[in-house]
Amino acid sequence: MIKIKDLAFSYGDLEVLKEISMKLEEGRIYGLLGENGVGKTTLLTLLAGLKKTNYGSIDIDGFNPYERKPSFLSEIYYLSDEVPAIKMTAIAFASDRGQFWTNFDLKKFREIMNLFENDVEMRMDRMSYGQLKKTYISFALACNTKYLFMDEPTNGLDIPSKAQFRKAVLKFTSEHSTLLISTHQVRDLEALIDPIIILDHRDVLLNASLSEITEKLYFDYSTTVDPDALYSELIPGGCIQVLKNDTGMESKVNIEALFNTVHKHKELIKDMFNNKKA
Protein backbone atom coordinates (compact mmCIF):
# COMPACT_ATOMS: atom_id res chain seq x y z
CA MET A 1 0.00 0.00 0.00
CA ILE A 2 1.13 3.55 -0.72
CA LYS A 3 0.67 6.03 2.11
CA ILE A 4 1.32 9.68 1.46
CA LYS A 5 1.16 11.95 4.48
CA ASP A 6 1.36 15.76 4.51
CA LEU A 7 3.59 15.68 1.49
CA ALA A 8 5.13 18.98 0.44
CA PHE A 9 7.52 19.71 -2.38
CA SER A 10 8.82 22.86 -3.98
CA TYR A 11 11.28 23.82 -6.71
CA GLY A 12 13.16 26.60 -4.96
CA ASP A 13 10.53 29.18 -4.06
CA LEU A 14 7.92 27.61 -6.31
CA GLU A 15 5.68 25.51 -4.14
CA VAL A 16 4.23 22.62 -6.15
CA LEU A 17 2.72 20.23 -3.63
CA LYS A 18 1.52 21.14 -0.17
CA GLU A 19 0.01 18.93 2.51
CA ILE A 20 -0.93 16.15 0.14
CA SER A 21 -2.27 13.10 1.93
CA MET A 22 -3.77 9.99 0.41
CA LYS A 23 -3.71 6.22 0.40
CA LEU A 24 -3.44 4.07 -2.69
CA GLU A 25 -4.69 0.55 -2.33
CA GLU A 26 -3.37 -2.58 -3.97
CA GLY A 27 -4.76 -4.00 -7.18
CA ARG A 28 -6.22 -0.77 -8.54
CA ILE A 29 -5.53 1.32 -11.62
CA TYR A 30 -5.53 4.91 -10.42
CA GLY A 31 -5.99 7.77 -12.85
CA LEU A 32 -4.11 10.87 -11.76
CA LEU A 33 -5.67 13.98 -13.24
CA GLY A 34 -4.97 17.65 -12.82
CA GLU A 35 -4.32 20.87 -14.66
CA ASN A 36 -0.89 21.67 -16.05
CA GLY A 37 1.62 22.43 -13.33
CA VAL A 38 -0.30 21.03 -10.37
CA GLY A 39 2.49 18.54 -9.71
CA LYS A 40 1.34 15.25 -11.23
CA THR A 41 4.77 14.41 -12.65
CA THR A 42 6.42 15.68 -9.47
CA LEU A 43 4.22 13.37 -7.41
CA LEU A 44 5.11 10.40 -9.62
CA THR A 45 8.83 11.14 -9.43
CA LEU A 46 8.57 11.47 -5.65
CA LEU A 47 6.83 8.09 -5.48
CA ALA A 48 9.54 6.55 -7.64
CA GLY A 49 12.31 7.99 -5.46
CA LEU A 50 13.75 10.34 -8.04
CA LYS A 51 13.19 13.31 -5.74
CA LYS A 52 13.33 13.87 -2.02
CA THR A 53 10.31 15.21 -0.19
CA ASN A 54 10.69 18.62 1.42
CA TYR A 55 8.18 17.76 4.08
CA GLY A 56 5.90 14.88 4.98
CA SER A 57 6.40 11.27 4.09
CA ILE A 58 5.83 8.62 1.46
CA ASP A 59 5.62 5.03 2.59
CA ILE A 60 5.44 2.26 0.01
CA ASP A 61 5.21 -1.11 1.76
CA GLY A 62 7.49 0.20 4.48
CA PHE A 63 10.05 1.71 2.09
CA ASN A 64 11.04 5.34 1.77
CA PRO A 65 11.34 5.64 -2.03
CA TYR A 66 14.21 8.13 -1.94
CA GLU A 67 16.48 5.55 -0.28
CA ARG A 68 16.27 3.66 -3.58
CA LYS A 69 16.91 0.27 -2.07
CA PRO A 70 17.22 -2.51 -4.67
CA SER A 71 14.38 -4.54 -3.15
CA PHE A 72 12.11 -1.48 -3.42
CA LEU A 73 13.28 -0.59 -6.93
CA SER A 74 12.61 -4.11 -8.17
CA GLU A 75 8.97 -3.69 -7.08
CA ILE A 76 8.37 -0.45 -8.97
CA TYR A 77 8.66 0.85 -12.49
CA TYR A 78 8.35 4.49 -13.43
CA LEU A 79 7.55 5.16 -17.05
CA SER A 80 8.43 8.75 -17.74
CA ASP A 81 6.73 10.88 -20.38
CA GLU A 82 10.10 11.29 -22.08
CA VAL A 83 12.01 8.09 -22.72
CA PRO A 84 15.62 7.72 -23.88
CA ALA A 85 16.45 6.24 -27.26
CA ILE A 86 19.16 3.71 -26.42
CA LYS A 87 21.66 2.56 -29.04
CA MET A 88 20.58 -1.07 -28.90
CA THR A 89 17.80 -3.27 -30.19
CA ALA A 90 14.61 -3.50 -28.14
CA ILE A 91 15.23 -7.15 -27.29
CA ALA A 92 18.84 -6.51 -26.26
CA PHE A 93 17.67 -3.61 -24.09
CA ALA A 94 14.99 -5.74 -22.46
CA SER A 95 17.39 -8.64 -21.81
CA ASP A 96 20.07 -6.35 -20.41
CA ARG A 97 17.91 -4.20 -18.13
CA GLY A 98 15.23 -6.75 -17.37
CA GLN A 99 17.67 -9.03 -15.50
CA PHE A 100 17.61 -6.59 -12.57
CA TRP A 101 13.85 -6.81 -12.00
CA THR A 102 13.13 -10.00 -10.09
CA ASN A 103 9.89 -10.80 -11.93
CA PHE A 104 10.85 -9.62 -15.40
CA ASP A 105 9.48 -11.86 -18.14
CA LEU A 106 11.16 -11.64 -21.54
CA LYS A 107 8.48 -13.79 -23.14
CA LYS A 108 5.87 -11.34 -21.96
CA PHE A 109 7.93 -8.47 -23.36
CA ARG A 110 7.93 -10.13 -26.78
CA GLU A 111 4.20 -10.78 -26.50
CA ILE A 112 3.36 -7.17 -25.68
CA MET A 113 5.69 -5.89 -28.38
CA ASN A 114 3.90 -8.22 -30.75
CA LEU A 115 0.54 -6.85 -29.61
CA PHE A 116 1.82 -3.35 -30.36
CA GLU A 117 3.12 -4.59 -33.73
CA ASN A 118 6.60 -3.40 -32.71
CA ASP A 119 9.75 -5.08 -34.01
CA VAL A 120 11.89 -6.39 -31.12
CA GLU A 121 14.95 -6.51 -33.37
CA MET A 122 14.73 -2.82 -34.23
CA ARG A 123 17.31 -0.47 -32.75
CA MET A 124 15.70 1.87 -30.27
CA ASP A 125 17.54 4.95 -31.53
CA ARG A 126 16.00 4.35 -34.95
CA MET A 127 12.44 4.06 -33.67
CA SER A 128 9.79 6.75 -34.02
CA TYR A 129 8.63 8.37 -30.78
CA GLY A 130 5.50 6.20 -30.74
CA GLN A 131 7.44 2.99 -31.34
CA LEU A 132 9.88 3.93 -28.61
CA LYS A 133 7.06 4.66 -26.21
CA LYS A 134 5.46 1.30 -26.99
CA THR A 135 8.80 -0.43 -26.34
CA TYR A 136 9.03 1.16 -22.93
CA ILE A 137 5.39 0.37 -22.14
CA SER A 138 6.07 -3.27 -23.10
CA PHE A 139 9.15 -3.29 -20.89
CA ALA A 140 7.29 -1.66 -17.99
CA LEU A 141 4.52 -4.27 -18.13
CA ALA A 142 6.99 -7.14 -18.58
CA CYS A 143 8.78 -6.12 -15.37
CA ASN A 144 5.74 -7.44 -13.47
CA THR A 145 6.25 -4.93 -10.70
CA LYS A 146 3.86 -4.43 -7.84
CA TYR A 147 3.73 -0.70 -8.48
CA LEU A 148 3.73 0.86 -11.90
CA PHE A 149 3.78 4.64 -12.30
CA MET A 150 3.08 5.96 -15.77
CA ASP A 151 3.32 9.57 -16.84
CA GLU A 152 1.21 10.35 -19.91
CA PRO A 153 1.66 6.84 -21.36
CA THR A 154 -0.61 7.44 -24.35
CA ASN A 155 1.20 10.58 -25.51
CA GLY A 156 2.63 9.93 -28.94
CA LEU A 157 0.61 6.76 -29.51
CA ASP A 158 -1.53 6.51 -32.64
CA ILE A 159 -5.25 5.60 -32.42
CA PRO A 160 -4.87 1.79 -32.73
CA SER A 161 -1.99 1.82 -30.26
CA LYS A 162 -4.13 3.52 -27.62
CA ALA A 163 -6.60 0.63 -27.78
CA GLN A 164 -3.68 -1.82 -27.74
CA PHE A 165 -2.33 -0.04 -24.68
CA ARG A 166 -5.63 -0.49 -22.80
CA LYS A 167 -5.73 -4.12 -23.84
CA ALA A 168 -2.13 -4.70 -22.77
CA VAL A 169 -2.63 -3.06 -19.37
CA LEU A 170 -5.73 -5.12 -18.67
CA LYS A 171 -4.23 -8.37 -19.93
CA PHE A 172 -0.70 -8.13 -18.61
CA THR A 173 -0.94 -6.56 -15.19
CA SER A 174 -1.43 -8.74 -12.16
CA GLU A 175 -4.54 -8.25 -10.06
CA HIS A 176 -2.24 -7.36 -7.14
CA SER A 177 -0.46 -4.61 -9.05
CA THR A 178 -1.18 -0.97 -8.36
CA LEU A 179 -0.99 1.35 -11.33
CA LEU A 180 -0.91 5.11 -11.11
CA ILE A 181 -1.40 6.71 -14.49
CA SER A 182 -1.09 10.44 -14.94
CA THR A 183 -2.87 11.71 -18.02
CA HIS A 184 -4.56 14.58 -19.80
CA GLN A 185 -5.93 12.21 -22.42
CA VAL A 186 -8.81 11.05 -20.24
CA ARG A 187 -10.77 9.61 -23.13
CA ASP A 188 -7.88 7.24 -23.92
CA LEU A 189 -8.11 5.73 -20.48
CA GLU A 190 -11.78 6.18 -19.60
CA ALA A 191 -12.45 2.46 -19.59
CA LEU A 192 -9.29 1.69 -17.70
CA ILE A 193 -8.84 3.94 -14.71
CA ASP A 194 -10.67 3.43 -11.46
CA PRO A 195 -10.34 5.11 -8.94
CA ILE A 196 -9.73 8.67 -10.02
CA ILE A 197 -7.51 11.15 -8.25
CA ILE A 198 -7.87 14.82 -9.11
CA LEU A 199 -4.97 16.91 -7.94
CA ASP A 200 -5.06 20.65 -7.48
CA HIS A 201 -2.36 23.08 -6.50
CA ARG A 202 -1.64 22.12 -2.92
CA ASP A 203 -4.56 19.75 -2.53
CA VAL A 204 -6.19 16.47 -3.48
CA LEU A 205 -9.66 17.43 -4.67
CA LEU A 206 -10.91 13.92 -5.26
CA ASN A 207 -9.74 10.39 -4.61
CA ALA A 208 -12.69 8.10 -5.26
CA SER A 209 -13.66 4.99 -7.15
CA LEU A 210 -16.12 5.18 -10.05
CA SER A 211 -18.82 3.52 -7.94
CA GLU A 212 -18.35 6.10 -5.19
CA ILE A 213 -18.51 8.87 -7.78
CA THR A 214 -21.73 7.59 -9.37
CA GLU A 215 -23.18 7.08 -5.93
CA LYS A 216 -22.86 10.77 -5.26
CA LEU A 217 -22.96 12.34 -8.69
CA TYR A 218 -25.32 11.74 -11.57
CA PHE A 219 -24.09 12.14 -15.13
CA ASP A 220 -27.04 13.10 -17.27
CA TYR A 221 -27.00 13.07 -21.06
CA SER A 222 -30.07 15.00 -22.21
CA THR A 223 -31.26 17.84 -24.40
CA THR A 224 -32.32 20.21 -21.65
CA VAL A 225 -30.10 21.81 -19.06
CA ASP A 226 -31.17 21.31 -15.47
CA PRO A 227 -30.85 24.57 -13.46
CA ASP A 228 -29.54 22.59 -10.48
CA ALA A 229 -26.72 21.04 -12.51
CA LEU A 230 -23.30 21.43 -10.93
CA TYR A 231 -21.82 21.50 -14.39
CA SER A 232 -23.19 21.36 -17.90
CA GLU A 233 -21.66 21.37 -21.34
CA LEU A 234 -23.11 21.27 -24.79
CA ILE A 235 -22.14 18.22 -26.81
CA PRO A 236 -23.32 17.16 -30.27
CA GLY A 237 -26.96 16.11 -29.97
CA GLY A 238 -27.59 17.60 -26.52
CA CYS A 239 -25.65 18.22 -23.37
CA ILE A 240 -23.83 16.46 -20.59
CA GLN A 241 -24.57 17.67 -17.12
CA VAL A 242 -23.49 16.63 -13.68
CA LEU A 243 -25.97 16.68 -10.83
CA LYS A 244 -25.98 15.59 -7.23
CA ASN A 245 -27.26 12.05 -7.15
CA ASP A 246 -30.14 12.40 -4.72
CA THR A 247 -32.15 9.56 -6.21
CA GLY A 248 -29.48 6.85 -6.24
CA MET A 249 -29.77 6.38 -9.98
CA GLU A 250 -26.85 4.80 -11.82
CA SER A 251 -25.01 6.60 -14.61
CA LYS A 252 -21.81 6.38 -16.64
CA VAL A 253 -19.02 8.66 -15.50
CA ASN A 254 -17.80 11.18 -18.03
CA ILE A 255 -14.32 11.95 -16.75
CA GLU A 256 -13.99 15.28 -18.55
CA ALA A 257 -17.29 16.46 -17.10
CA LEU A 258 -16.26 15.14 -13.69
CA PHE A 259 -12.95 16.99 -13.88
CA ASN A 260 -14.67 20.26 -14.78
CA THR A 261 -17.28 19.78 -12.05
CA VAL A 262 -14.60 19.18 -9.44
CA HIS A 263 -12.73 22.30 -10.51
CA LYS A 264 -15.89 24.40 -10.48
CA HIS A 265 -17.01 23.24 -7.01
CA LYS A 266 -13.78 22.36 -5.20
CA GLU A 267 -15.00 22.72 -1.63
CA LEU A 268 -18.38 21.13 -2.29
CA ILE A 269 -16.78 18.07 -3.90
CA LYS A 270 -14.25 17.75 -1.10
CA ASP A 271 -17.06 17.82 1.44
CA MET A 272 -19.15 15.35 -0.55
CA PHE A 273 -16.35 12.84 -0.83
CA ASN A 274 -14.86 13.61 2.55
CA ASN A 275 -11.49 13.70 0.79
CA LYS A 276 -9.78 10.60 2.11
CA LYS A 277 -6.72 11.53 4.08
CA ALA A 278 -4.01 9.09 4.99
Binding site: G49, L50, R68, P70, S71, L73, Y78, F100
Partner: protein, 294 residues
Protein backbone atom coordinates in the same frame (compact mmCIF):
# COMPACT_ATOMS: atom_id res chain seq x y z
CA UNK B 1 19.93 -6.01 5.03
CA UNK B 2 23.41 -6.58 3.58
CA UNK B 3 21.99 -7.45 0.19
CA UNK B 4 20.47 -3.96 -0.01
CA UNK B 5 24.00 -2.45 -0.03
CA UNK B 6 26.15 -5.02 -1.78
CA UNK B 7 25.34 -8.32 -3.36
CA UNK B 8 28.17 -9.90 -5.32
CA UNK B 9 25.95 -11.67 -7.81
CA UNK B 10 23.91 -8.53 -8.53
CA UNK B 11 27.04 -6.41 -8.68
CA UNK B 12 28.69 -8.75 -11.15
CA UNK B 13 25.61 -8.69 -13.40
CA UNK B 14 25.51 -4.91 -13.17
CA UNK B 15 29.24 -4.57 -13.84
CA UNK B 16 28.93 -6.71 -16.98
CA UNK B 17 26.01 -4.57 -18.14
CA UNK B 18 27.94 -1.38 -17.32
CA UNK B 19 30.98 -2.73 -19.17
CA UNK B 20 28.84 -3.42 -22.24
CA UNK B 21 27.50 0.12 -22.02
CA UNK B 22 31.09 1.40 -21.81
CA UNK B 23 32.01 -0.51 -24.97
CA UNK B 24 28.92 0.85 -26.72
CA UNK B 25 29.46 4.45 -25.61
CA UNK B 26 33.24 4.78 -25.70
CA UNK B 27 34.64 1.61 -27.29
CA UNK B 28 35.26 3.06 -30.74
CA UNK B 29 36.73 6.30 -29.37
CA UNK B 30 39.02 4.32 -27.07
CA UNK B 31 40.12 2.13 -29.97
CA UNK B 32 40.84 5.16 -32.15
CA UNK B 33 42.79 6.89 -29.38
CA UNK B 34 44.82 3.84 -28.46
CA UNK B 35 45.70 3.08 -32.07
CA UNK B 36 46.49 6.70 -32.90
CA UNK B 37 50.23 6.11 -32.46
CA UNK B 38 50.18 3.17 -34.83
CA UNK B 39 47.96 4.98 -37.34
CA UNK B 40 50.16 8.07 -37.45
CA UNK B 41 53.26 5.89 -37.64
CA UNK B 42 51.81 4.08 -40.64
CA UNK B 43 50.68 7.29 -42.35
CA UNK B 44 54.04 9.01 -41.84
CA UNK B 45 55.92 5.85 -42.84
CA UNK B 46 53.93 5.47 -46.05
CA UNK B 47 54.32 9.18 -46.81
CA UNK B 48 58.07 8.92 -46.26
CA UNK B 49 58.26 5.75 -48.34
CA UNK B 50 56.50 7.34 -51.31
CA UNK B 51 58.42 10.61 -51.13
CA UNK B 52 61.96 9.51 -50.16
CA UNK B 53 61.88 5.80 -50.84
CA UNK B 54 62.75 4.96 -47.22
CA UNK B 55 60.48 4.05 -44.34
CA UNK B 56 60.50 6.57 -41.48
CA UNK B 57 57.68 6.47 -39.00
CA UNK B 58 57.14 8.64 -35.94
CA UNK B 59 60.40 9.68 -34.30
CA UNK B 60 60.98 9.31 -30.54
CA UNK B 61 59.98 12.74 -29.15
CA UNK B 62 56.90 12.88 -31.38
CA UNK B 63 55.86 9.41 -30.22
CA UNK B 64 56.25 10.48 -26.61
CA UNK B 65 54.34 13.72 -27.10
CA UNK B 66 51.56 11.92 -28.98
CA UNK B 67 51.32 9.31 -26.23
CA UNK B 68 51.03 11.90 -23.45
CA UNK B 69 48.56 13.95 -25.51
CA UNK B 70 46.25 11.01 -26.25
CA UNK B 71 46.54 9.74 -22.66
CA UNK B 72 45.41 13.12 -21.39
CA UNK B 73 42.54 13.22 -23.87
CA UNK B 74 41.34 9.77 -22.80
CA UNK B 75 41.58 10.50 -19.08
CA UNK B 76 39.91 13.89 -19.45
CA UNK B 77 37.28 13.01 -22.01
CA UNK B 78 36.14 9.51 -21.10
CA UNK B 79 34.26 10.21 -17.81
CA UNK B 80 31.84 12.64 -19.48
CA UNK B 81 31.26 10.26 -22.38
CA UNK B 82 30.65 7.34 -20.04
CA UNK B 83 28.65 8.83 -17.18
CA UNK B 84 27.73 12.33 -18.30
CA UNK B 85 24.24 11.01 -19.07
CA UNK B 86 23.47 10.86 -15.36
CA UNK B 87 22.61 14.55 -15.36
CA UNK B 88 20.18 14.00 -18.23
CA UNK B 89 16.62 13.66 -16.97
CA UNK B 90 15.68 10.75 -19.23
CA UNK B 91 18.77 8.58 -19.04
CA UNK B 92 19.69 9.66 -15.53
CA UNK B 93 16.28 8.60 -14.21
CA UNK B 94 16.69 5.17 -15.80
CA UNK B 95 20.09 4.83 -14.10
CA UNK B 96 18.74 5.80 -10.69
CA UNK B 97 15.74 3.50 -10.88
CA UNK B 98 17.60 0.38 -11.96
CA UNK B 99 17.19 -2.11 -9.09
CA UNK B 100 20.85 -2.15 -8.12
CA UNK B 101 22.18 -0.47 -4.98
CA UNK B 102 23.73 2.98 -5.26
CA UNK B 103 26.94 1.55 -3.83
CA UNK B 104 27.14 -1.11 -6.54
CA UNK B 105 26.51 1.47 -9.25
CA UNK B 106 29.19 3.68 -7.70
CA UNK B 107 31.80 0.90 -7.46
CA UNK B 108 31.18 -0.14 -11.04
CA UNK B 109 31.48 3.49 -12.18
CA UNK B 110 34.78 3.95 -10.34
CA UNK B 111 36.21 0.66 -11.63
CA UNK B 112 35.36 1.46 -15.23
CA UNK B 113 36.50 5.09 -15.16
CA UNK B 114 39.65 4.75 -13.06
CA UNK B 115 40.84 1.23 -13.85
CA UNK B 116 39.28 -0.31 -16.94
CA UNK B 117 39.53 2.67 -19.31
CA UNK B 118 43.15 3.66 -18.48
CA UNK B 119 44.29 0.04 -18.35
CA UNK B 120 42.75 -0.84 -21.71
CA UNK B 121 44.13 2.32 -23.27
CA UNK B 122 47.68 1.81 -21.97
CA UNK B 123 47.70 -1.89 -22.78
CA UNK B 124 46.59 -1.39 -26.38
CA UNK B 125 48.80 1.67 -26.89
CA UNK B 126 51.94 0.08 -25.40
CA UNK B 127 51.21 -3.28 -27.01
CA UNK B 128 50.93 -1.79 -30.50
CA UNK B 129 53.97 0.38 -29.89
CA UNK B 130 56.08 -2.60 -28.84
CA UNK B 131 54.83 -4.46 -31.92
CA UNK B 132 55.73 -1.57 -34.23
CA UNK B 133 59.20 -1.31 -32.69
CA UNK B 134 59.74 -5.02 -33.17
CA UNK B 135 58.86 -4.79 -36.87
CA UNK B 136 60.21 -1.33 -37.71
CA UNK B 137 63.97 -0.91 -37.08
CA UNK B 138 63.73 2.89 -37.37
CA UNK B 139 61.41 2.99 -34.37
CA UNK B 140 64.13 2.78 -31.71
CA UNK B 141 63.15 2.12 -28.12
CA UNK B 142 59.52 1.30 -27.47
CA UNK B 143 57.54 3.72 -25.29
CA UNK B 144 57.15 1.05 -22.64
CA UNK B 145 60.91 0.45 -22.38
CA UNK B 146 61.56 4.19 -22.59
CA UNK B 147 59.26 4.95 -19.68
CA UNK B 148 59.94 1.97 -17.46
CA UNK B 149 63.54 0.96 -18.16
CA UNK B 150 65.42 3.61 -20.08
CA UNK B 151 68.30 5.54 -18.53
CA UNK B 152 67.46 8.35 -20.94
CA UNK B 153 64.49 9.10 -18.77
CA UNK B 154 66.79 9.68 -15.83
CA UNK B 155 67.34 13.43 -15.71
CA UNK B 156 70.15 12.96 -13.21
CA UNK B 157 72.69 11.28 -15.41
CA UNK B 158 75.84 9.71 -14.10
CA UNK B 159 77.99 12.73 -14.88
CA UNK B 160 75.87 15.06 -12.76
CA UNK B 161 75.61 12.49 -10.03
CA UNK B 162 79.37 12.04 -9.97
CA UNK B 163 79.87 15.75 -9.54
CA UNK B 164 77.38 15.88 -6.71
CA UNK B 165 78.32 12.82 -4.72
CA UNK B 166 77.50 14.48 -1.46
CA UNK B 167 73.97 15.12 -2.60
CA UNK B 168 73.39 11.58 -3.80
CA UNK B 169 70.99 10.86 -0.96
CA UNK B 170 68.78 13.72 -2.13
CA UNK B 171 69.20 12.83 -5.78
CA UNK B 172 68.06 9.28 -5.09
CA UNK B 173 64.88 10.66 -3.59
CA UNK B 174 64.31 13.03 -6.49
CA UNK B 175 64.67 10.02 -8.78
CA UNK B 176 61.67 8.48 -7.05
CA UNK B 177 59.54 11.14 -8.70
CA UNK B 178 60.52 9.72 -12.07
CA UNK B 179 59.20 6.29 -11.23
CA UNK B 180 56.17 5.72 -13.52
CA UNK B 181 54.43 3.73 -10.77
CA UNK B 182 54.22 6.95 -8.77
CA UNK B 183 51.83 8.36 -11.37
CA UNK B 184 49.17 5.68 -11.04
CA UNK B 185 47.44 7.72 -8.35
CA UNK B 186 47.65 10.80 -10.59
CA UNK B 187 45.94 8.86 -13.39
CA UNK B 188 43.19 7.81 -10.97
CA UNK B 189 42.95 11.37 -9.62
CA UNK B 190 42.58 12.87 -13.08
CA UNK B 191 39.84 10.38 -13.98
CA UNK B 192 38.05 11.09 -10.71
CA UNK B 193 38.21 14.87 -11.17
CA UNK B 194 36.64 14.66 -14.59
CA UNK B 195 34.12 12.07 -13.42
CA UNK B 196 33.01 14.44 -10.69
CA UNK B 197 32.72 17.23 -13.26
CA UNK B 198 30.69 14.95 -15.52
CA UNK B 199 28.28 14.26 -12.66
CA UNK B 200 27.93 17.89 -11.62
CA UNK B 201 27.78 19.94 -14.82
CA UNK B 202 24.89 19.49 -17.22
CA UNK B 203 26.64 20.91 -20.30
CA UNK B 204 30.26 21.46 -21.43
CA UNK B 205 31.28 19.05 -18.70
CA UNK B 206 34.97 18.69 -19.61
CA UNK B 207 35.51 22.41 -20.30
CA UNK B 208 33.82 23.47 -17.08
CA UNK B 209 35.80 20.91 -15.08
CA UNK B 210 39.04 22.21 -16.59
CA UNK B 211 37.96 25.75 -15.75
CA UNK B 212 37.23 24.75 -12.16
CA UNK B 213 40.59 23.00 -11.80
CA UNK B 214 42.36 26.14 -13.03
CA UNK B 215 40.36 28.35 -10.65
CA UNK B 216 40.98 26.03 -7.69
CA UNK B 217 44.70 25.90 -8.53
CA UNK B 218 44.86 29.71 -8.64
CA UNK B 219 42.98 29.94 -5.34
CA UNK B 220 45.36 27.43 -3.71
CA UNK B 221 48.37 29.35 -5.05
CA UNK B 222 46.96 32.61 -3.67
CA UNK B 223 46.62 31.02 -0.24
CA UNK B 224 49.80 28.92 -0.21
CA UNK B 225 52.29 31.38 -1.72
CA UNK B 226 52.10 34.02 1.08
CA UNK B 227 52.24 31.29 3.73
CA UNK B 228 55.36 29.79 2.16
CA UNK B 229 56.86 33.24 1.68
CA UNK B 230 56.30 34.17 5.33
CA UNK B 231 57.34 30.86 6.85
CA UNK B 232 60.22 30.28 4.46
CA UNK B 233 61.51 33.84 4.41
CA UNK B 234 64.16 33.30 7.06
CA UNK B 235 65.34 30.14 5.31
CA UNK B 236 65.61 32.00 2.02
CA UNK B 237 67.53 34.82 3.75
CA UNK B 238 69.87 32.29 5.35
CA UNK B 239 70.35 30.55 2.05
CA UNK B 240 71.07 33.89 0.37
CA UNK B 241 73.77 34.72 2.90
CA UNK B 242 75.58 31.41 2.31
CA UNK B 243 78.16 30.54 -0.29
CA UNK B 244 76.17 27.87 -2.10
CA UNK B 245 79.21 26.39 -3.82
CA UNK B 246 80.49 25.46 -0.37
CA UNK B 247 77.15 24.17 0.94
CA UNK B 248 77.31 20.51 1.86
CA UNK B 249 74.42 18.11 2.19
CA UNK B 250 75.08 17.76 5.91
CA UNK B 251 75.04 21.54 6.38
CA UNK B 252 71.82 21.73 4.44
CA UNK B 253 70.26 19.05 6.64
CA UNK B 254 71.29 20.86 9.82
CA UNK B 255 70.40 24.37 8.67
CA UNK B 256 67.16 23.53 6.90
CA UNK B 257 65.70 20.46 8.62
CA UNK B 258 62.20 20.90 7.23
CA UNK B 259 63.28 21.38 3.63
CA UNK B 260 65.74 18.53 3.82
CA UNK B 261 63.02 16.30 5.30
CA UNK B 262 60.77 17.26 2.37
CA UNK B 263 63.59 16.53 -0.07
CA UNK B 264 64.17 13.12 1.43
CA UNK B 265 60.48 12.13 1.44
CA UNK B 266 59.25 13.44 -1.89
CA UNK B 267 57.79 10.12 -3.03
CA UNK B 268 55.94 9.62 0.21
CA UNK B 269 54.64 13.19 0.30
CA UNK B 270 53.49 12.95 -3.30
CA UNK B 271 51.73 9.63 -2.71
CA UNK B 272 50.08 10.72 0.53
CA UNK B 273 48.88 14.03 -0.89
CA UNK B 274 47.53 12.28 -4.00
CA UNK B 275 45.82 9.67 -1.84
CA UNK B 276 44.24 12.40 0.26
CA UNK B 277 42.95 14.25 -2.82
CA UNK B 278 41.73 10.98 -4.36
CA UNK B 279 39.87 10.03 -1.18
CA UNK B 280 38.20 13.44 -1.20
CA UNK B 281 37.26 13.01 -4.85
CA UNK B 282 35.92 9.50 -4.21
CA UNK B 283 33.78 10.87 -1.39
CA UNK B 284 32.43 13.73 -3.55
CA UNK B 285 31.61 11.35 -6.42
CA UNK B 286 29.81 9.04 -3.97
CA UNK B 287 27.94 11.96 -2.44
CA UNK B 288 26.88 13.18 -5.87
CA UNK B 289 25.70 9.74 -7.03
CA UNK B 290 23.84 9.24 -3.77
CA UNK B 291 22.13 12.63 -3.84
CA UNK B 292 21.38 12.99 -7.54
CA UNK B 293 17.71 13.83 -8.24
CA UNK B 294 15.58 14.15 -11.35
Amino acid sequence: METEVFNLNRFWRYFKSDFDAFISRYGITLLVMSTLGLSLDLILGLFSLTSTGTWQGLIGPMRGALFFGTSAMVLIGSPAKLYGYLTDKKEGSAFLLLPVSTFEKYISMILITCIVVPLMFFMIYFGLDVMVCMIDPTCGTSLFSFIFYSDDFNLFNDETAMAMTEWNEFIEHFKVLLNPALYIDDIIGTSLMFLLGALIFKTSKTGKTLGCIILISIAIQIVITPILAITGLSAIRDLGSMDLSQLTAEQFKTSFPFYSWVGLHLGLIDTLSDMFVNCLLLFFVWFRVKRIKH
